[in-house]
């Protein structure tokens, strides 16, 4: 049992939990994730470690309500407990002094990219961050990301805040600009990562993405999370989640994310029926 110490509602449907998990906090590194199971009947779902405090023994996760588990999580608050909280899983992001690193985050992945941007900065890189959201009311952790970046660019799809447009536009400008970009880290919805990788490919800049297939155990035991990278089958939970975005078979990843659409819908309908809708 892991107790939720603090809940923050960041923007509609996106929340952060600070969870008591001293052992996980003691080992967490940027880019790793935990597997969470709310209770006896719950599903195991992966969530990225957005922050940790080794002294306090806490780990912060940020999640977006998309289906049954994330909606049920959103009904919990400080003082409640989560039955299973396993981690840190996956390989940490490769951190090194590369030069200038561009960190691109879409949607809730601002939280995912935070520790990576911070570690890249600490390693002596110049960090340029780009964060994109659909609209102004969905922006969070802007100041936090600015603090760990040398430069921050914000985009919104509807132009209600920052630059209007998608994150790929400022990304392309940076790549075609004067300064040499040594590496790009792009994290967010699968399509966004795919298009970031497509954007950087002609420039030959290595682009790391954090893949989000469906998982069960998270320890390399089931093969549910398999993806094709450079034509070879890899397990995201143990070989990743970070991979070279230019080598990922994006269509396969997206197809495999849709395996349970019908079941997810059925489960979600039942969940809403039981708990009433939350919006």
């Amino acid at each position: 049992m892991n107790q939720i110490l603090l809940r923050q509602d960041l923007v509609p449907k996106i929340h952060s939990f600070k969870v008591a998990a001293p052992k996980v906090a003691g080992k967490a590194q940027a880019g790793q994730f935990v597997i969470v199971r709310i209770d006896e009947r719950g599903e195991r779902i992966p969530l990225t470690i957005a922050d940790w405090d080794r002294k306090e023994g806490s780990v912060t996760v940020v999640f977006m309500e998309v289906g049954t588990t994330t909606n049920r999580l959103a009904q919990l608050g400080a003082g409640d407990s989560i039955t299973d909280f396993v981690g840190p899983l996956g390989l940490p992001t490769h951190i090194e002094k590369f030069g200038t690193v561009v960190c691109v985050a879409g949607g809730f992945a601002v939280a995912t990219i935070m520790p990576i941007a911070r570690a890249m900065r600490q390693a002596g890189n110049r960090v340029i961050s780009i964060m994109g959201a659909r609209s102004k009311n969905l922006i969070f952790w802007e100041d936090e990301l600015r603090r760990v970046s040398d430069r921050l660019i914000v985009t919104t799809d509807d132009g209600s805040y920052g630059r209007k447009g998608l994150v790929t536009e400022p990304l392309r400008e940076l790549l075609s600009g004067d300064g040499k970009i040594s590496r790009v880290i792009a994290i967010g919805p699968t399509v966004m990562m795919k298009f970031c990788a497509k954007t950087t490919e002609p420039f030959g800049v290595k682009t790391i993405v954090s893949l989000n297939p469906i998982m069960v155990d998270g320890t390399g035991m089931c093969g549910c999370c398999r993806v094709a990278v450079s034509g070879a089958t890899r397990f995201v939970c143990v070989d990743g989640p970070d991979f070279d975005g230019h080598q990922v078979d994006w269509d396969l990843l997206m197809a495999r994310q849709r395996i349970y659409l019908d079941e997810e819908k059925r489960s979600f309908e039942q969940c809403q029926h039981q708990h009433g809708t939350h919006s």
Partner: protein
């Protein structure tokens, strides 16, 4: 003495049509009368060949005699002195190749149904002596041992070490203990309640069980050794699924047996949406492989409601490695066997779902290293089977996580950890290993035997 009955007392089972639709246990267990009738067939022969056939040398005539004397508690003690998990072994041991094949009566008729008697005694204990019946523990030695993995190897090593007075902590990656017994072998063959009772027994010996702890991530083996454990036993099994590396293998609807069984057994997908983890059932399911894992996957698929379930096996019926009893159960339930058949590639639709499997016909050639006749492709024999779910049950290898994070641990080219067979000692000081992590996929009882031998050697080491 009454004339020897050459036939064993049949095991009462659920009817095939009924059991094919539920997850309750197939074999119902002997009644007391049936158990005694079977026990009475044993001639308590002085040579006790059966004992040598059992990898942990259960005192078979000893517990059988106690049963015949009507002294069930003595039968329980006789059994449990050698085997901490009799309720499990009585159900899933391949008795027909171990204790029972060695029974003297086997030369003349059906050997004593030792597994069924063992199960009876274990079930009797659970029903009559309370949930757990712990032996008296010696004074604590003050030594601490970390056991990694809570499968049969880890549970046995932990129980043995605790009984010797050592402080034992088990670290388990998943949220439930039991290893393959919990996530792999289905409820209808091994009820989880029985696994839990055995886990509770081990806990009652004072063993601390820490779930959700992936060693290699949350702590490395070296960190365990540095943090107050004088010895580490690795019983992490062989949990990494193998695929065939043929075209289309990542299509939607193609599962490893581990994923399929984990969803069904560990996550209880057969009760979806009450339990939140889904599994795709499919109308036409092909299971590739011929071992126990394949039988379990096929029979799960059938119980989940598939119309047609095929076992695709590249050799013939004679070579099939699964337990005979389970093959027969599967056949009775309506699983269709396609022998001498091997997949060439999978075919998908525009949405990336598997719709078919192109297969070769095979024929058998000369025997290979394993002594079984080698399957050879019949050129030009390709044909297509329509399927919508495929389960690949071709075996597993050890998960590399521990080996990758433990300096000085030696592994074979198969990824198994190198350890001494008699003592379980690994190449690294302070580390022992046993079970599937050393042998590759084997059996419950061999994993237990390894756990037990390692515990004895660890004890010797700790007493220095």
């Amino acid at each position: 003495m009454a004339k020897l009955d050459l036939n064993r007392v049949p095991m009462p089972r659920q009817e095939p049509e009924v059991r094919a639709k539920n997850f309750s246990e197939v074999a119902l267990g002997y009644s007391l009368k049936q158990a005694l009738a079977e026990a009475n067939r044993c001639i308590l022969c002085p040579k006790r060949n059966c004992v040598a056939g059992c990898p942990v040398n259960v005192d078979i005539p000893g517990f059988v005699e106690a049963m015949r004397d009507g002294d069930m508690p003595r039968a329980v003690r006789a059994l449990k002195s050698k085997n901490a998990l009799p309720g499990i072994c009585g159900r899933v041991c391949p008795q027909e190749t171990q204790c029972e094949v060695a029974c003297v009566i086997n030369k003349r008729g059906a050997p004593i149904a030792i597994g069924r008697l063992e199960r009876f005694v274990a079930d009797w204990e659970r029903a009559n002596m309370g949930r757990v019946n712990s032996p008296k523990l010696p004074k604590p030695t003050g030594k601490r041992v970390a056991v990694v993995g809570s499968g049969p190897a880890g549970l046995t090593a932990a129980a043995e070490l605790a009984k010797l007075g050592h402080g034992v902590t088990i670290f388990e990656a998943l949220h439930v203990a039991g290893g393959v017994l919990t996530y792999g072998i289905p409820e209808f063959r091994l009820p989880k309640e029985i696994v839990q009772a055995e886990v509770d027994y081990v806990a009652s010996l004072g063993v601390e069980l820490i779930l959700n702890s992936v060693i290699g991530k949350i702590d490395t083996v070296d960190e365990l050794l540095e943090s107050g454990y004088q010895a580490v036993f690795l019983g992490t099994g062989a949990g990494l699924p193998m695929f065939m590396n043929i075209a289309g293998e990542n299509l939607n609807g193609i599962y490893s047996a581990n994923e399929f069984l984990t969803r069904v057994n560990l996550m209880k997908a057969y009760r979806f949406p009450e339990y939140d983890t889904p599994v795709k059932v499919g109308k036409r399911v092909a299971v590739i492989g011929g071992g126990n894992v394949a039988m379990d996957s096929a029979r799960c698929a059938l119980r989940l409601g598939a119309d047609e379930v095929y076992i695709i096996y590249r050799r013939s019926e004679v070579e099939i490695p699964a337990r005979r009893e389970e093959v027969e159960n599967a056949m009775e339930e309506g699983i269709q066997f396609r022998f001498l058949t091997n997949p060439k590639r999978f075919l998908g639709d525009e949405k990336n779902w598997v719709v078919g499997m192109e297969c070769y016909q095979m024929e058998l050639g000369e025997p290979d290293e394993s002594g079984r006749r080698r399957p050879i492709v019949k050129e030009g024999s390709e044909f297509i089977i329509d399927v919508d779910v495929v389960v690949v049950a071709l075996g597993t290898t050890p998960n590399p996580l521990i080996a990758q994070t433990t300096e000085g641990l030696k592994t074979s080219k198969w990824g198994t950890v190198v350890a001494d067979e008699d003592t379980g000692r690994a190449e690294k000081p302070g580390v022992w290993a046993g079970g599937d992590i050393v042998t590759g996929s084997a059996t419950v009882i061999s994993a237990m035997g390894a756990g037990k031998r390692a515990a004895a050697d660890i004890d010797e080491y700790l007493r220095g």
